[in-house]
């Protein structure tokens, strides 16, 4: 700041310029001093030309007047000097005031800068703290992720184990299923065999009954006859019958044995079935266990998480107790700990409040900083304006100075002219001879005047140049100062302020657009939902597909029911000779389906028949229209023939008896028959002749 003050003091053009200006009038006055010598020249000439008392008196008068003049000039000069001094003083005071104002402004700027710096440092510390906490958080997250990964791996392993177990069980299940299928096939086969054998047994029992009946009859006949009188043939028959009975009984025994064997096999298969159902149950149990295991796994994970939380709490508690130990080694009661905890909680709350307050303060400070930055920029602008004003005032001052000098010069010249005029008027009356001398004098005077004016204009030019140079220096100095300012922290602070303002604006914009985005997203979702709801796809409940599906489903349920009941029957009683009702139902359903199929086939057949009949009729019509006869095939092997020229009458051809009768009422019927059929053996020609005759008859 000292440097700055030096710079500002040195750079100020007010200190240099008045000094530069002050000597100028003196210089000019010094330069003007020779003028009285110039003006004194004519007096010397007078003295040389008039050597008397009167000239002496004149001289004295002149001297006294000159002295008076000199005094007045001196007085005027003093007055002017005093005035200029006063003006200079005033300007200096103004300059000092402006300097003071500038200093205060600079101090303010410095203060603001310091404040800003402090805030920036605070921000940095907060940011660094934030970064540290972020790092901590990241590390925690990393740890948690690692743990999670480990858990995932464990879960994966468990899943793999579960899958392998499942696949094993499924393999076993498929094996059992295939076994079951085989068993079912065998059961079916055995059932069929049993049915066949049962039929055989029934047949045999029926024959047995018949034989019993026969025996009974024989017995009855024996009783009736009372005297048995067997023939050898009858004996033979009886013996054969006995043999047959024996064979049949043997066969029955064999069948019973086979039946027992099959029953044993069935038992075995049932046992296998039981084992398969047992395996199934086991599988289900295992699946349940796996599910339980999964739930347990979840529980385990939760417990692990909880454990971790508790561990962290425990470590915190340990740290806390260690701290307490540091303070009080011997008397740590749980109550103390709780009290301490409560106190710490309260403190924590207070600290949270303070933190929030500080945050609020921070935000306020930020706002204040922004405002100060704005004010600072305004002050800088004002300062710039002020400097410009000072420069303008200096220019004005300089112009006034110049005008003052010029007016002094003018005054001098005018006085001189007045004196010359006085001299001229006093001397013109006395001496006409002196006219040329006076002319010379006048010429000299004019020349002097010209020289003087030239000199003055030269000086003015010089002064202008000096002025311009000094202005350029000022401008350069000001530029340097500006550059120094911009290179300094002020520029950066200003830039930071601007950036902060921009940042806050951008944040606000971002918030606004995020809200807008959220709003639009919700609207879009609503619209999508609305669109989804708008259309409904419907179908007739009673459609062909549904019917087909219904039939299939019904068949499936019936078959399942049948299967279930057959299995239960087989398990419950081995020697049962009946079938469950579901078998009947399923067969009935199949029958119905078959009926439907038959109905469809019939329908198809009828339609085909219709088409055929239609086509046949078309064909017959075509034939009739071409040949002129309509044929009607009767079921009793007769064919009726109608002529198109007499449709109400007809001929009948009996194909069985080979006859031809007619009710056509044609006169030469027998002749025509004789000629064309019997003699020439041509029915078409006979029919053609008949047609011709009928046509002629119809025409007539």
């Amino acid at each position: 700041m000292d440097d700055e003050s030096d710079i500002s003091g040195g750079s100020s053009p007010f200190l240099d310029s008045p000094d530069a200006f002050v000597p100028q009038p003196e210089q000019q006055s010094q330069e003007n001093n020779p003028q009285p010598e110039v003006t004194a020249e004519p007096t010397n000439i007078e003295e040389e030309t008039v050597p008397s008392l009167e000239p002496l008196v004149n001289k004295d008068r002149q001297v006294s007047s000159l002295e008076y003049e000199l005094r007045t000039i001196k007085n005027k000069f003093e007055l002017e000097r005093l005035q200029s001094q006063r003006q200079f003083n005033q300007l200096q005071t103004k300059y000092k005031k402006s300097l003071e104002e500038l200093d205060t402004a600079l101090d303010d700027a410095k203060f603001l800068h310091g404040e800003n710096y402090r805030l920036v440092s605070e921000l940095e510390t907060i940011q660094s703290e934030n970064q540290i906490t972020g790092n901590k958080k990241d590390s925690c997250l990393q740890d948690l992720e690692n743990k999670l990964r480990e858990r995932d791996e464990q879960i994966k392993e468990l899943n793999y184990e579960k899958e392998s177990k499942n696949s094993k069980l499924q393999d076993e299940l498929t094996n059992l299923k295939t076994e079951k299928e085989n068993v079912d096939d065998l059961v079916k086969r055995y059932n069929n065999e049993i049915l066949r054998q049962a039929n055989d047994i029934n047949q045999l029992s029926r024959t047995l009954k018949e034989k019993d009946d026969e025996l009974l009859q024989l017995k009855n006949s024996k009783i009736i006859n009372s005297h048995p009188n067997y023939d050898t043939e009858e004996f033979q028959e009886l013996s054969t019958m006995n043999k047959l009975f024996k064979e049949q009984s043997q066969y029955c025994k064999e069948l019973e044995e086979i039946n027992l064997k099959q029953a044993n096999e069935l038992k075995k298969y049932r046992n296998t079935e039981d084992s398969s159902s047992f395996w199934k149950q086991e599988n289900e149990k295992l699946e349940l266990k796996v599910q339980q295991l999964e739930s347990l796994e979840k529980n385990y994970e939760d417990a692990q998480v909880e454990l971790l939380g508790l561990k962290s709490k425990l470590t915190e508690y340990n740290i806390f107790t260690e701290e307490l130990k540091g303070r009080d080694m011997f008397h740590i009661q749980p109550q103390d700990v709780i009290n301490e905890l409560e106190l710490l909680k309260k403190e924590n709350l207070v600290l949270i409040d303070e933190n929030s307050k500080l945050n609020i303060n921070m935000s306020n400070m930020k706002i204040l900083n922004e405002e100060l930055a704005l004010e600072r920029t305004q002050l800088l602008n004002i300062n710039k304006d002020y400097e410009n004003n000072i420069i303008n005032l200096k220019k004005l001052n300089y112009e006034l100075e110049q005008q003052k000098v010029l007016s002094f010069e003018e005054c001098k010249l005018l006085r001189k002219q007045l004196e010359d005029l006085d001299n001229f008027t006093s001397n013109s009356i006395n001496d006409n001879k002196e006219i040329p001398v006076r002319d010379n004098e006048m010429n000299d005077l004019i020349e002097n005047y010209k020289n003087r004016t030239d000199e003055l204009t030269g000086e003015l030019k010089k002064l202008n140049q000096q002025m311009l140079e000094s202005q350029e220096e000022d401008v350069q100095f000001a530029k340097k100062r500006k550059i120094k300012d911009t290179t300094g922290m002020t520029y950066y602070s200003q830039r930071i302020n601007e950036l902060q303002l921009e940042n806050s604006k951008l944040n606000r914009d971002l918030q606004k657009y995020q809200n807008l985005n959220r709003l639009l997203e919700t609207k879009l979702m609503k619209l999508i939902n609305l669109k989804e709801k708008k259309i409904r796809i419907v179908e007739l409940r009673d459609n062909p597909l549904a019917k087909d599906q219904f039939i299939k489903k019904k068949k499936l349920t019936l078959l399942q029911q049948e299967n279930r009941e057959l299995l239960s029957q087989l398990q419950s009683d081995e020697n049962v000779q009946a079938v469950p009702i579901s078998v009947y139902e399923s067969l009935n359903f199949d029958l119905k389906q078959q009926e439907q199929e038959i109905f469809k086939a019939n329908k198809k057949f009828a339609r085909l028949k219709e088409v055929f009949n239609k086509k046949s009729l078309e064909f017959i019509d075509v034939v009739n229209s071409i040949l002129g006869f309509k044929l009607e095939f009767r079921p009793d092997n007769k064919v009726k023939i109608y002529s198109c020229y007499k449709p109400n009458k007809h001929m009948v051809v009996d194909l069985r008896r080979n006859t031809l009768d007619s009710n056509l009422e044609i006169d030469n019927w027998d002749q025509l028959l004789q000629t064309w059929i019997e003699e020439r053996d041509s029915i078409p020609c006979f029919l053609a002749t008949l047609t011709l005759q009928l046509w002629e008859a119809s025409r007539s």
Binding site: V538, E539, N543
Partner: protein, 208 residues
């Protein structure tokens, strides 16, 4: 809506329903869903078209079309879909979709262009011509559609896309869209009545 408009709407709806009847019959015949002897030739749109005389099928189509007619009159139906389904697998092998687009000429908020179009009356003969052309396309599509190999083992179902707030009778129920995944689509021509524009398209499985 004036009485003239109402008559026009009824006429348009009848035309559309009639078209649906003949197109459904044609598709069922061409794709062999029902045996050919169940169909008889009738002359419609100056074309010999096939129409079923199987009472059950006739009844089913009639039931659908009566309801669809009502929905179209009430501007509640936007699409009619005929799905051909494999009985064994339950897969949709072909999906014939008919889009029904309502021409909102009488919309007061509509553009000037629409209002200009409102004045354009569509000649019924032109509509008939367009329908003829569309039915010819449907008939000809048999040439490029994949063969339905499992003959006699296909059934069909008709789906109607209605407004969510449309009145649905009790004998109608909700259904899935029965879309064919990664199916090939073929867009057919469309026809216009004074009130509606009907477009058709078929989607089918690429390889069977």
């Amino acid at each position: 809506m004036s009485s003239g408009d109402s008559i026009s709407l009824k006429g348009s709806t009848r035309t559309i329903t009639e078209f649906f009847e003949y197109s459904i019959n044609s598709i069922l015949y061409e794709r062999g869903i029902y045996p050919s002897e169940d169909f008889t030739v009738v002359k419609k749109y100056d074309l010999p078209l096939l129409k079923t005389h199987d009472e059950e099928l006739k009844q089913y189509i009639r039931k659908i079309l009566i309801q669809v007619h009502k929905w179209i009159l009430g501007k509640k139906c936007t699409k009619l879909v005929l799905c051909i389904i494999d009985k064994d697998t339950g897969d949709v092998v072909e999906r014939w979709a008919f889009d029904i687009l309502k021409m909102d000429y009488d919309n007061e908020n509509g553009d000037d262009e629409d209002k200009d179009m409102a004045s354009v009356k569509i000649d019924p003969q032109e509509t008939q011509k367009q329908i003829r052309s569309l039915i010819r396309q449907i008939t000809a599509s048999v040439t490029f559609l994949p063969e339905l190999t499992n003959e006699g083992n296909y059934t069909f179902n008709v789906l109607a896309y209605t407004d969510a707030y449309a009145k649905i009778p009790l004998n109608w129920g909700d259904s899935s869209s029965k879309e064919i995944e990664n199916g090939e689509n073929v867009q057919f021509k469309s026809f216009e009545t004074e009130d509606y524009k009907v477009g058709a398209q078929v989607s089918y499985k690429q390889s069977r």
